[in-house]
Subunit: 202 residues, 2 copies
């Protein structure tokens, strides 16, 4: 029962997972390095054996999220069939990883220095924006969605609009039945709009 050379290889993984949960719940600034260490049953300086700075730990947490999301999104995009149905699957996936996306965006923009922010933004564009935008572009090419000329949105712009719609902002202001029902409703609004259709025969 001796400690093998690879006995504590996952101290780093433990820190990563614990920090992931804490940052997700409370945001970058509100979580102190001492808090992370305590939750890992470590002293605070021990963290710095595995991560050079708090920002670096946060970046690794974000990149890990992005990588997972990327894999899920690629699987959805690869499905054969209805573009609308696949967009619906996307709206089911996103809020699971980002229960408070607005907080995460805030932190990336305000708590990371330029270099790290650029790195995360580039990875975000590649891992998350690109696959979803590809779905919107496919919808346009199939004639399902309006093109820019027809009053629609650019595929990338549409992706960002979807993010904004799915963002629950702060629960203090609005109440939703279930996250999944909310996601469905937001996608419906994005697709159909609020205007009454020109004629009412259905």
């Amino acid at each position: 029962m001796e400690s093998s050379p690879r006995d504590a290889p996952d101290t780093r993984q433990t820190i990563l997972r614990v920090a992931q949960q804490l940052f997700r719940e409370q945001g970058f600034r509100a979580v102190s390095t001492r808090q992370i260490a305590a939750a890992c049953q470590l002293t605070q300086p021990a963290l710095y054996r595995h991560f050079a700075t708090k920002q670096d730990l946060y970046v690794e947490v974000l990149l890990d999220d992005l990588q997972r999301l990327h894999a899920q999104l690629l699987a959805i995009v690869a499905h054969e069939g209805d573009v609308i149905q696949r967009l619906r699957e996307v709206t089911h996936i996103l809020p699971v990883t980002w229960e408070d996306a607005s907080q995460m965006f805030h932190d990336i923009a305000h708590e990371l220095d330029d270099a790290r922010r650029d790195l995360v933004a580039a990875q975000f564009a590649h891992d998350v924006v690109a696959p979803i935008a590809a779905l919107f572009a496919l919808g346009v090419s199939q004639g399902l969605l309006r093109s820019v000329d027809q009053g629609g949105l650019d595929a990338t712009e549409a992706t960002f609009v979807l993010f904004r719609l799915l963002d629950e902002h702060e629960p203090a202001y609005s109440r939703h039945s279930s996250p999944l029902a909310h996601a469905e409703q937001m996608l419906d609004v994005l697709l159909h709009g609020l205007l009454q259709p020109p004629q009412a025969n259905r």
Copy 2:
């Protein structure tokens, strides 16, 4: 040219305006009381002659914004005529006061204690949400907008969706031509949706 009894009645107003601008640009936490004081050419403890705590100063800043917005919104709602046109005017007004609404919502939710957050939330509901929701409700009653039964949104829900759409989140991710053009585009999406209309005869 002697200092009258009412010579420095606006020290408080100066602090309020300066803090308003700084909080708007950088958020609650990033602006220190020393920074506010310096911008007012005061020492930091002097602030506490006018505001009991930093949170109280922030609350007064927010309430001042809400009061102004309320007056502008009431004027728009009182206009005779097209509901859609009035909604468009609303989208032009909101981003002027809230250049980074997501930051403000974040601060209200995470930097204020329960009592102050509830106070601001209640005032927000009364000053901003209610007038805009009234416009959406009017649109539904005029048959312009879908009712909830017809797949539309509740008026209050629609108001929050409009907020989310107007929110530019972080400029690091998307780029817009002009704020006003962006607001127009977001309202168009909210009204018409992205789906191709059933028949293409125009």
